[in-house]
């Protein structure tokens, strides 16, 4: 099958790849570009572990055609830290023991990052709503909610988004 070229910015760098017309963004990021932050959990858009930001919006990369990302800004959890310095959300996840097996963590961080960029001081209900598309099978939701609220209280949304 003929492959198509696609080019976009990934975590601030220009990246390009050749993809099947029906190929999804998740496969391109993981197998094509080596960014393993977004995970495969269901391939059906129900678990949220493949969540990435496309132009600032949280999107499910398993349901996104790779060729539809031409010229877009894509951000994953791999690009959250500022060099050796953790993003406040990452630090808050550490401080609040918000990661157990760690498999949902990149998607959770990405969903939380999108929330705080739009709403730096969310209520608990707004946090719950923002991560409602992300499944944590270890069922560690309470520490995750606490971490996001703690990051917001510390000004995570304002300092970096």
């Amino acid at each position: 099958m003929a492959k198509l070229p696609v080019q976009f910015r990934l975590n601030g760098s220009d990246r390009a790849g050749f993809v099947d017309p029906a190929g999804n963004l998740l496969d391109l990021l993981r197998r094509g570009l080596g960014d393993f932050a977004p995970k495969y959990g269901c391939g059906q858009g129900t678990c949220g572990v493949c969540t990435v930001l496309i132009d600032g919006e949280p999107q499910l990369s398993c349901l996104t055609l790779a060729i539809s990302c031409e010229g877009r800004q894509i951000e994953t959890a791999s690009g959250m830290a500022d060099g050796p310095n953790l993003h406040p959300l990452q630090q808050a996840f550490m401080d609040n023991f918000a990661a157990q097996c760690g498999f949902c963590t990149p998607g959770m961080l990405t969903a939380a990052r999108a929330l705080l960029a739009k709403n730096p001081n969310p209520t608990r209900d707004e946090v719950v709503e923002a991560i409602s598309g992300n499944i944590c099978r270890c069922t560690g939701y309470e520490p995750i909610i606490a971490a996001i609220l703690a990051a917001a209280a510390g000004g995570a949304g304002m300092r970096r988004a």
């Binding site: 080596g34 495969y40 572990v49 996840f93 550490m94 990661a99 949902c104 963590t105 944590c136 099978r137």
Partner: protein, 576 residues
């Protein structure tokens, strides 16, 4: 936060511990929050091939013929594997500790025993090509009658699910159809009880549903080994299993893992490792075999369903005087870990309660369902559910508060358990008291003053007289319904089965060599190892020919056993 109730358990723990009781950062947290953690699938390989399996659409079917010629010619296909390509195509997980017979193929050959059983594996350049070629495999099935109910499966004439165990039950010690526990005389106690309450409890299979599905990437490594990125919860368990199935020395397998994207017991079965490694061996290229979500939910082994009958005798004052439990584990089509679950279940009976007469018969039954496996306390959680619901019903029957009913019947330190071990470090009384306090649940002054530490032992430390069958045993399938002909004297204990001679070839359908039970006063002594070359002929058994040895103080527990001795006493005889 954890609270250590020093008022209840003053000597339970040192106060000067560095880590226990304190919040300490997990060593893997930085990797998780930065997405640097590498799960098994987070590894890039040049020339990566993808493996997909063809699964049986039937619950039970003879496989007449398999035609893979069209699939082999399909675009991108590098190799098609069938059962004959698997070096050791029969295994059972616990064969690594010599427990149970090999009963499960990696790829089914003659018969499919559950819906979704793998039969053919296809290795192709891309997942899409492997999936397309999967549709070209032609398998000629002859559907057979399936059996899905554990008790139906154990009836005479039921379809044989797994020919390794033709009775549809796991064979303990190569001859017993179930795990049996006898302590005291339940039948006599039922006859004397004020109320007898019996109920049936039925569990469902539960899928672990880890967010990361089962999978493996295996690749040839520079040093003539294979590197294996595995999802396994028990990495070395999986290494040993894989080495056996693909017939490689285990030091040629370089397993990397331990970073599990959710396991909960569902990643101990080595569902993907052997085929991925075999694929890498036969193609010379990296091979990735990952279950998709549908496969994970339907064919990843679940928590086994259990059917549990609980029959209790209780007196008007609330004392439980007898408990009989009959339980059936649904292993599905293959053993996996169900044989072990039934042992755990037996060890857990009768729950944390001091009951003078206890009996249980726990079966592992094979059915044409997906094989079940470990999950979070498997063997214990289901029977606990049944027992605690039963406790509420018993409390209702004697018109007692359920909290006080539990306090009344809970183990105290020094009580003799049904397994002939003295209860130690018991705390249920205090747990219920604290739970009642936190829930503002009023309990009587007497229940509030009860203590695990002071009320046990004495008469409660006695081993009760226990009826035996006509062979002087409690475990023979063919005699388990016979009348009791002898009673094990109080205060004595039988030596562990593992210390007795083992007779090869003993099966239900064949003549069973007579084994002489030997009674020894507790604490137990080591019996001499059996050596067929020098052992004298076994003397005929003479019941009650000599008076039983005097009962020693029952508070003296047997010496703790560790390691191999402990394992063999749990699992029974070594097979090879």
């Amino acid at each position: 936060m954890l609270e250590m109730r020093k008022d209840l358990f003053a000597d339970e723990r040192d106060d000067n511990l560095n880590v226990v009781g304190k919040g300490v950062q997990r060593q893997d947290a930085p990797g998780h929050v930065t997405a640097r953690t590498r799960f098994f699938d987070d590894h890039a390989f040049d020339g990566l091939l993808h493996l997909k399996v063809v699964r049986s659409p039937h619950h039970h079917a003879r496989i007449r013929a398999i035609d893979v010629s069209a699939a082999e010619r399909a675009p991108g296909v590098k190799r098609v594997l069938r059962g004959a390509d698997v070096p050791v195509n029969k295994n059972t997980l616990l064969s690594l500790i010599n427990f149970g017979k090999d009963d499960e193929p990696t790829l089914a050959v003659d018969k499919a025993r559950y819906k979704g059983e793998p039969i053919v594996a296809i290795i192709a350049d891309s997942e899409a090509e492997a999936l397309a070629a999967r549709k070209l495999v032609r398998i000629d099935y002859e559907p057979l009658n399936p059996v899905f109910d554990v008790e139906e499966a154990l009836k005479p004439g039921a379809p044989v699910v797994n020919e390794t165990y033709p009775g549809n039950y796991f064979e303990y010690h190569q001859r017993f159809d179930h795990q049996k526990l006898r302590f005291g005389d339940v039948e006599r106690a039922f006859a004397q009880a004020d109320h007898v309450v019996e109920h049936r409890y039925q569990m469902s299979p539960i899928e672990h549903a880890p967010t990361e599905t089962n999978g493996t990437i295996a690749a040839p490594e520079h040093n003539d080994r294979y590197v294996v990125h595995s999802c396994a919860q028990g990495l070395f368990f999986s290494l040993g299993t894989t080495a056996k199935i693909v017939d490689l020395e285990s030091n040629r397998l370089h397993f990397i893992g331990g970073t599990v994207g959710g396991g909960f017991g569902g990643k101990v079965d080595s569902l993907s490792e052997p085929l991925a490694v075999l694929g890498a061996m036969l193609t010379g290229r990296p091979v990735r075999y990952v279950l998709d979500r549908e496969e994970e939910m339907l064919y990843g082994s679940p928590r086994g369903a259990e059917r549990i009958y609980v029959k209790d005798g209780v007196m008007r004052d609330g004392r439980i005087v007898a408990r009989y439990i009959r339980s059936y584990f649904d292993a599905g089509a293959y053993t996996r870990l169900s044989s072990y679950a039934a042992i755990k279940c037996t060890a857990h009976v009768p729950g944390p309660y001091s009951i003078p007469n206890v009996a249980s018969d726990i079966y592992v039954a094979y059915t044409n369902r997906c094989p079940s496996t470990a999950m979070r306390g498997f063997g214990v959680t289901a029977v606990d559910f049944a027992l605690e619901v039963q406790m509420d019903r018993l409390a209702e029957a004697v018109n007692m508060d359920p909290m006080e009913f539990r306090i009344l019947n809970a183990y105290r330190d020094g009580d003799m358990k049904a397994h002939r071990r003295v209860a130690k470090n018991t705390a249920l009384v205090e747990c219920v008291q604290v739970a009642a306090e936190k829930a503002n649940w009023p309990i009587s002054e007497q229940a509030r003053r009860a203590s695990s530490l002071t009320e046990g032992g004495g008469e409660r430390a006695q081993i009760p007289a226990t009826p035996l069958d006509q062979r002087g045993q409690i475990g023979r399938p063919e005699s388990r319904n016979g009348p009791a002909t002898q009673t094990l004297p109080a205060g004595t204990t039988r030596i562990a089965l593992s210390k007795q001679p083992v007779f090869e070839g003993a099966r239900d359908s064949r003549p069973t060599p007579v084994q002489v039970p030997r009674y020894e006063p507790s604490p137990r002594q080591e019996a001499p190892r059996y050596d067929p070359a020098v052992a004298p002929p076994l003397p005929a058994y003479q019941p009650a020919a000599s008076p039983p040895p005097a009962a020693p103080p029952p508070t003296a527990p047997a010496q703790p056993q560790h390691g191999a001795v402990r394992f063999s006493s749990v699992f029974g005889t070594r097979r090879r």
